[in-house]
Amino acid sequence: MRYGGRRPMARSLRSFRFLVVDDSEFARRNMEKMLIAIGGQAAGFASNGREAINQYRKLQPDIVLMDITMPEMEGIEAVEEILAEDELAKIVMVSSISYQDMVKRALACGAKHFLAKPVKREQVASVVDFVLGEN
């Protein structure tokens, strides 16, 4: 199934809906606080790549913040599956493992950007603004 052709224009940064994917509850809450502080609304959460794919199909968020190292299915595999269904999906990888080869691997699989943990609100705002603004 493909979702191509949706979203002819980026939504206003003030009203974007987000999906946060991380196996750490702390990380999910922390990211949620930062995204809400910059005007986002929580569409949903997932704690592994498999859940992320299901949640993406169901919730159709404007942006996904995706951890890499997770049980059951890792973030990069989930990104590839989501993009195979929706080539317009906007996904930002978030990981504490951020050496150059890992960042390249994440971007090569189709992620729009990469945030290294620990993330700061200003960085999140800047990346979300950039990713939702590009068309």
Binding site: E25, F26, T69, S96, S98, Y99, D101
Partner: protein, 153 residues
């Protein structure tokens, strides 16, 4: 034990702890340890594989752990509940992930496992006999010991 591995782990821990507790972190004197590690109460262990094999241990007492988890969440914790433990695991993951990123960008090839957190009195961590280097980090909330033991494969 390669000393080149130790400094990035200590420096990453110092930097990330400083952000987590919004305070200054002072590193104490480095010491060598070859014995089992007696836990002070809360211990996070991260396995290291690749060109070097071993583990990194972050060890602190319960009060320090609770205060760090409280600072990171912006809410007080009276007990080490699941969220507090998850917060400390995530902290250990960030400290080691950051260090491995620095090392790998410098030409090394290391991987880290997800952290395992132990909490309890009278716990001792032992394993393959590895010489470890230990650096105490003095935080505003108490001491966190960084114990690095990585042998070249």
């Amino acid at each position: 034990m390669r000393f080149a591995y130790v400094q990035p782990f200590v420096e990453s821990a110092r930097k990330i702890l400083a952000e987590a507790v919004s305070g200054r972190i002072v590193a104490g004197d480095l010491r060598l340890s070859s014995a089992a590690v007696p836990s002070r109460g809360v211990t996070a262990i991260v396995g290291v594989t690749g060109e070097g094999e071993g583990r990194v241990i972050f060890d602190m007492d319960k009060e320090t752990a609770l205060r760090i988890a409280s600072a990171m969440n912006g809410e007080p914790f009276g007990e080490l509940d699941e969220l507090a433990k998850d917060t400390l695991s995530e902290l250990a993951g960030m400290m080691t992930g950051n260090a491995v990123s620095v090392l790998n960008d410098g030409g090394h090839c290391l991987r880290v496992s997800p952290p395992t957190l132990f909490a309890g009195e009278n716990v001792s961590i032992s394993g393959r006999a590895l010489e470890a280097l230990v650096v105490p980090l003095d935080t505003p909330f108490g001491e966190v010991a960084v114990n690095v033991a990585i042998a070249t494969s």
